[in-house]
Subunit: 590 residues, 2 copies
């Protein structure tokens, strides 16, 4: 029985409803985007009662399908003004699915006369949503107000038992910061997996929901229409993932940061606020180096971020004394707080990662904002102590500069009068320079989500040469590549798969077929690749339509001018995919 | 001979050209908007070399036509992202016209490798444009860098003689503040008349032009095709203006702030960041009170801001010791720093007016931003000392809060997490609450310029009942009224008339005819009311087209949600003109 649970924060009620026909075979991003598009007024203030935050596991969550444990979180983004889906690993998606919950919708907002500020609403009560075999419950708990995610999940475990999964926000969300994330606990119960982008944590904060606690007692596996066929496909996918050099070897051995050396070598590793494509300090912050440090100090590699993942690219990072500090910081984090800020000290980056996880802030957005502060000359590139201090100030929201950074790179550039601000639709660019990796540049410009590498990871083809090759330095073919990947990714996001399966899929079409077969076996359907592609297109169109109604059209599908005008060393290339081609990608017409 | 003078700041050259056919009978706003629309890439970064700042006197400037001394200043606004025309009085327009200059275009920008910040460009040189009978000259003068407008014009007079007219920017423009104005000296040589809205001062600052000096030696009156007919019309207009109760009595006697009591009485006087429609301290900041204070202390009333104006609504405000402090602050300034901030002390407001004039900041934007700081609870409404301090900090750009405020209300709200931020297209609303004065609400929402009362002053009909009456509290008829006034105003702005003639025109169609007759007599044309109306429509369409290409379409033609949702006391009304009607106004189809 798939159902939707709605928590109404206006009248503080919970109710369950059967999933409507129009939402029936939608999951994860497909479902969050459909609910946002059909139920949220596109022009609404993202912090108003009209916005919703939707949590949706994928179509295969709660089963033993490999890599199916992503949770999609959707809403209207206060950072980009667009529709937003950000997904995370962790243990919540599997549990939600096992409770039969296709979507948990947090809607409304406590009524008040006049809301003087977003921050002040938290003063009137802090709530936890509890999901257990007894049902869904809304519990007021003002004691947990403004706790960091780590302390918060510790306290929640003390109250609700050791075997819970938690979805939480840190102080950044309560403070209304546009970089605020929503954290999901990993299999070790730590709040390390974040739906990072677009500030949805602040939307949840405005609704005064500090967390969702999901009990794991007495949950049952999801029932399958055809379990034998399902298991065959699941085993096949697991096998293919194990055999592929990226998902079977590189990622488990080194983690996502294996990319650092690769991207740096091809000259697409954005250094010092996207002014160079290679970083001289790369050897100190590479994936290889991270592995070495972790193993030497007694940290762990090959951990899963979500149960039942055969890739296991997660790690735990320990300090010099062998004490747990944070999960192994991922590629984007190491880049954003490393090369992008001119910093080559892994311990410094790990400290900032821990701070961001604890305060609940997007590491890409915070790294982007700190680099803009450095660009302004307010502090020097490479100033590690200042970077740590600024991340703290952003999290605490005590200083004005902290508030500025916590609201992201765009506003930081506005206040400090910096011209070179690498954002699209207000969201910071991830760690691939669009001039030397033009395919991902097309994705940044045209994604329905603002600058988002996960929306169409052209780097896999441009730089890793998986499933073909399109020269990253030339404009030819990039539009087509990005469009194709955006559709495929949207489909995978809507099934609720971890994006990393794409490395395998690009090389092995059987892997894609195995995923489709699992969906069919789960629901008794007969989808083929065509139906799945159509699903991707349909969801993208729903999202695009929402954005258009929100006033965000093709004119905003572009990179900041400096990528077009300023040559990136060492290849001395600019971003030259034409506006016309970008428009065609947005309209899925190339 | 009408000509265009171009100052190219990329190669530091000046050149003159005959006016092209397409610009032939365009003046003031008509000409600045046409040049922006035809020559500036709509999507360009407003601080880049691609943007231009255009200074254009009106079609009647340089003649003895009453109220013809406005100077239009145009460009792409860094505050709103739209096309922008802001006009000011002062003595510059008449002189430019007498030199035969229809438009002075500042274009390009000194070339540099990588511009780290907008502010830093000023470090590489500061320039003055000098216009005299010897021609146009570009002079480097680094000594004047970061001078306040008052000290700057004093120094310019010492260097270039006592009889110059100056167009200047203060430190706010050099610091790239989005509230930065461009000042024009009044007949007393003081920098009190500002093209205030939209941050064009910062665009000029990015081009490193600190000022334009215009010598008044040996200038000749503009030649007229039919001088007898011209003088008859000029005399008729002057007579009608003298006879009208608003332009002949109220404005010269009390200044623009005569409106304060009127707008407050009808409950449309925005108080404490647009939360109430009446201010309890009104008697201390009314136009009547201002006159009393000025006369008692030996200040002056009935001054002209521009030569040959028969209205003479300007004043000089002196301190308790009879010493000149600032020009008599206008209605918008007194409201923005008075009622809107809960302040009822005229001396405090006059001090802030002086600071804003000196630093070169828009009083509406700065007042709007300070009110948002008060809304955030960072300081209390009514805190006079803090308001003065914040205006200083914004002007000096030394503190972060100063930088935030100096960049306007929108960004202030973003950083301080305030939901109630009264802006349209990023520009602060002027002093008429759109809920109790719905006609001007339609103008705020639909103007090509962002929230701008001067773009279609429906208050004249809604509240002053000039030329008819449309009930300000009801939505019926407001769209039509605003559209009609936007067209009429654009025509008047394009002739280069002071907007205040509209009070007379609405009651006396002969006044409009007299203006048209003067244009005809000046150029030997045969325009009628239809041609002038078509001119207004044409210019509006050119502007709208630019905005659409810049990515700013109808979806942004709306007021912030709180005007729609929150009732304004005392009439407890909301803004309820429909989005459909607003769209029709934008498209000039109602």
């Amino acid at each position: 029985m798939r159902k939707i649970v709605r928590i109404n924060m206006t009248d503080l009620t919970c109710k369950e409803e059967d999933i409507r026909n129009e939402y029936k075979y939608l999951g994860a991003r497909g479902l969050t985007s459909a609910i946002v598009a059909f139920e949220v007024r596109p022009k609404c203030d993202p912090f108003s009662a009209e916005n919703k935050v939707i949590f949706a596991p994928g179509l295969l969550a709660g089963t033993s399908a490999p890599c199916s444990g992503r949770i999609s979180i959707g809403g209207k983004s206060p950072l980009t003004g667009t529709i937003k889906e950000a997904n995370a690993g962790g243990t919540a998606a599997q549990l939600l699915a096992q409770y039969g919950i296709s979507a948990l919708v947090i809607e409304g907002k406590p009524v008040s006369g006049r809301l003087r500020s977003r921050a002040s609403v938290m003063e009137r009560g802090t709530y936890i949503v509890k999901i257990s075999e007894e049902g869904v419950e809304l519990i007021r708990d003002d004691q947990i107000k403004k706790l960091g995610n780590y302390e918060l999940v510790d306290q929640l475990r003390k109250k609700y038992g050791p075997n819970i999964s938690c979805i939480t926000i840190g102080p950044a969300g309560e403070n209304g910061m546009l970089s605020a994330t929503i954290a999901v606990t990993d299999p070790q119960g730590r709040p390390t997996r974040h739906a990072g982008r677009g500030g949805l944590g602040a939307v949840l904060g405005a609704k005064r929901v500090k967390g969702i606690v999901i009990e794991s007692k007495n949950v049952k596996k999801v029932t399958l229409k055809e379990s034998k066929r399902f298991m065959e496909s699941a085993n096949l996918l697991a096998k293919l993932l194990k055999e592929h050099p990226v998902t079977g070897k590189a990622l488990p051995t080194y983690g996502s940061n294996i990319l650092a050396n690769v991207i740096n070598a091809v000259g697409a590793y954005p250094t010092r606020n996207f002014s160079e494509g290679r970083f001289e300090g790369i050897k100190n912050i590479s994936g290889e180096k991270q592995r070495e440090v972790i193993l030497k100090r007694g940290g762990k590699i090959k951990r899963t971020c979500s149960d039942g993942c055969p890739i296991a690219c997660s790690r735990t990072y320990v300090d010099r004394f062998g004490k747990y500090l944070t999960k192994g910081p991922e590629y984007e984090t190491i880049w954003a707080h490393g090369a992008n800020c001119g910093i080559d000290n892994m311990d410094t980056i790990a400290q900032i990662d821990r701070l961001c996880d604890d305060y609940g802030m997007d590491t890409i957005e915070i790294g982007g904002a700190i680099a803009v502060v450095m660009e302004a000359g307010t502090l020097q590139f490479g100033d590690e102590k200042a970077a740590i201090r600024l991340a703290k100030e952003a999290g605490e929201a005590t200083s004005l500069l902290g508030r500025i950074i916590g609201n992201g790179a765009k506003v930081t550039g506005e206040i400090l009068n910096v011209q070179r601000v690498p954002v699209v639709k207000g969201q910071s660019l991830p760690g691939y320079d669009p001039r030397a990796a033009k395919g991902i540049g097309v994705t940044y410009a045209t994604s329905t989500m603002g600058a988002d590498h996960t929306a169409g990871y052209a780097t896999a083809v441009n730089l890793l040469k998986l499933g073909g090759f399109v020269n990253p330095l030339r404009k030819e073919g990039q539009a087509k590549l990005s469009k194709k990947l955006q559709i495929l990714t949207t489909a995978l996001d809507s099934v609720g798969m971890c994006l990393f399966v794409i490395f395998c899929i690009l090389d092995q079409p059987e892997a894609m077929q195995a995923i489709i077969d699992m969906v069919n076996a789960r629901f008794g359907l007969t989808f083929g690749l065509r139906e799945i592609t159509e699903l991707g297109e349909k969801v993208l169109k729903i999202e695009r339509q929402f954005n258009l109604k929100a006033g965000i059209g093709h004119s905003q599908d572009r990179l900041p001018d400096f990528f077009v005008k300023e040559k990136l060393p060492p290849h001395n290339v600019v971003f030259d995919v034409s506006g016309k081609e970008l428009q065609k990608v947005s309209q899925l017409q190339i």
